[in-house]
């Protein structure tokens, strides 16, 4: 019996075997060392990479796992960014919450929570609407958020935009790109871990079950209303937390930052990396974000290049880059035979 339990715990473990542990330790070591090895501008870019990794992981939980496509994720990022910024400004003005050890970690949480509330609201129609109809709702949501921000200066600061105070813990200010890097990537690692936990649990199974066969999921006891809405809430939380980090890194917000293209880029990251896997979302986010900055002098061609990459990947490897990587790994394992 204890043997069986051990076998289960092995099957359930996130990291299996010495090689995987070694790889993980090396990866974490590299992440910790990078800001000391790279020039400042690259650290700044890596902060955006981390932020997009968070959005992509959350979006993949919705699109890749549950099969609900969102074309409005930028709306959740915007809500997270503005909610966090208003929270930071309010606490700075009052000086109350700082005593609790806040507010930057609280700001990230509040950005996520505010977006999650809207995630529930957008997700509610998901019970009635399927496929393209639901996608149109998300598209409308993303566009509406931007329009509301443009037309509501009290929230967005209007034409002038809004400046974001630097994250601080008491008197300790995280002002440099390097300290922001550690903030961003700590959140990336924490939220990745949660995503891995969710996907190996009954929650992740319910998500995939809904995507593969919603009627079978239902008659097997999965509450569709709850899990479809939950997927939206969780996905929006990731986007909102990323939005809060984006506010810190940009130090300045204006509504034009949150346009439809961003939503499409997020979706492209998930598709290119591989739908329905967490590492896939990470791959896609890293690759496309680096590409975006690599091509910063050719911004106007970005949509075309992104589109081309998506089509190419879809045609050659529908499982995304991560799917291709898994195949290569399998091929290397069996190669000598």
């Amino acid at each position: 019996m204890t043997q069986l339990i051990q076998r289960y715990e092995e099957e359930m473990a996130l990291v299996r075997g010495g090689a995987a542990w070694t790889g993980l330790v090396l990866l974490l070591g590299a992440l910790a060392a990078l800001p000391w090895l790279l020039p400042g501008y690259y650290v700044y870019i890596l902060n955006f990479v981390g932020i997009n990794v968070i959005v992509a992981i959350g979006l993949n939980l919705l699109v890749g796992y549950t099969g609900q496509i969102s074309l409005g994720h930028v709306g959740f990022v915007a809500i997270g960014a503005y909610a966090a910024t208003h929270f930071i400004r309010a606490t700075e003005a009052s000086g109350v919450v700082a005593a609790l050890g806040g507010p930057f970690w609280m700001a990230v949480f509040i950005g996520g929570a505010a977006a999650a509330v809207f995630g529930v609201l957008v997700g509610l129609p998901a019970i009635r609407l399927e496929g393209p109809y639901l996608t149109i709702v998300t598209l409308g949501f993303g566009l509406a958020v931007q329009q509301i921000l443009i037309n509501w200066p009290a929230v967005s600061g209007g034409r002038i935009g809004m400046f974001v105070p630097q994250p601080a813990l008491g008197s300790f200010v995280l002002g440099s790109d390097r300290s922001l890097y550690y903030l961003v990537w700590t959140v990336v690692i924490g939220m990745s871990l949660v995503a891995f936990n969710l996907t190996r649990s009954h929650v992740g199974r319910a998500f995939i079950a809904i995507r593969d066969s919603d009627i079978a999921a239902e008659v097997t006891g999965v509450n569709l209303k709850y899990y479809k809405t939950l997927a939206f809430a969780v996905s929006a939380f990731y986007a909102g937390a990323a939005g809060a980090l984006l506010a810190y890194v940009m130090q300045y917000l204006e509504p034009t930052m949150f346009n439809l293209y961003e939503s499409i880029y997020y979706l492209a990251m998930v598709v290119v990396g591989g739908l329905g896997t967490i590492p896939g979302a990470m791959f896609g986010a890293v690759l496309l974000t680096l590409l975006q900055y690599g091509l910063s002098h050719a911004q106007e061609y970005l949509p075309v290049i992104y589109g081309g990459i998506v089509i190419l990947v879809m045609a050659l490897e529908p499982m995304g880059l991560y799917g291709r990587w898994l195949k290569i790994k399998l091929w290397m394992k069996t190669w000598p035979m």
Binding site: L4, I5, Y8, E9, E11, M12, V194, N197, L198, S201, H202, V203, G204, R205, A206, I208, A209, R211, D212, S213, I215, A216, A217, E218, V219, T220, G221, V222, N223, L224, K225, L230, G276
Partner: protein
Amino acid sequence: MRENHGGAGPLLEVRNVSLQFGGIAALTDVNLTVHPGELMSVIGPNGAGKTSLFNCITGLYRPTAGDIFFGGRRINGLTADRIAALGIARTFQNIELFSHMTTLDNLLLGRHLHMRAGFFDAAFATRRWWRNEVAQRRRVEEIMDMLDLQSVRHRRVASLPYGMQKLVEVGRALATEPRLLLLDEPSAGMTEEEKADLVFTIRDVQEELGIAVVLGGDDLRMVMEISQRIVVLDRGRVIADDVPAVVQKDPKVIEAYLGEEAMDPARGA
């Protein structure tokens, strides 16, 4: 947890159920009773309403008239997942598996109802989650042993042969620990050998686990062989409800099936 309403009464009672699709009457005034631990069948020519009846019982369709009681409790109007929680499980005529999941994960989804860990337990992998997850895996192990699925434990179900997929679906249904199991055309598309195995499996399930099993449609010879009772549907109406020997000789039943053969000799049935 699950209550046991009066041991002696019927397990499932379908009372005067009708189901209308626009002008089409899929079911008309259907009455039917299933007793605890019984192995019975609902048969009838194609389009008779067997699948529609199963869909009503499991909450996928809502009857336009009539009531359905399970363990003395009215269940029409409840959502499908609530009905599953009360103890009704099913398989589908056209396999509805979670095709990207492994056999193990498909069966584990059958344990979803029994998870006593919530979202945050899962997100932070609390001890309560580990304990629960291990308990579900242990339970699934027994079902995999019973149905001989261990060899395909980690295979994606989409890559399994058809007969094996049907078995995984039975396993997933059993994993919910139902008191009533509805099998919609379980042997359709199976080889003769697989059919013979299936008969054993169904008997095993019914005898060992003591749950009621209702077969929908399916291979007539097999149905006659294993059913304790047979209900015959024709164009949405119950035309017979008796032991196999009597149903077999019922002129109305013969006529219903002959009518179908006359219309479509290729189909047999």
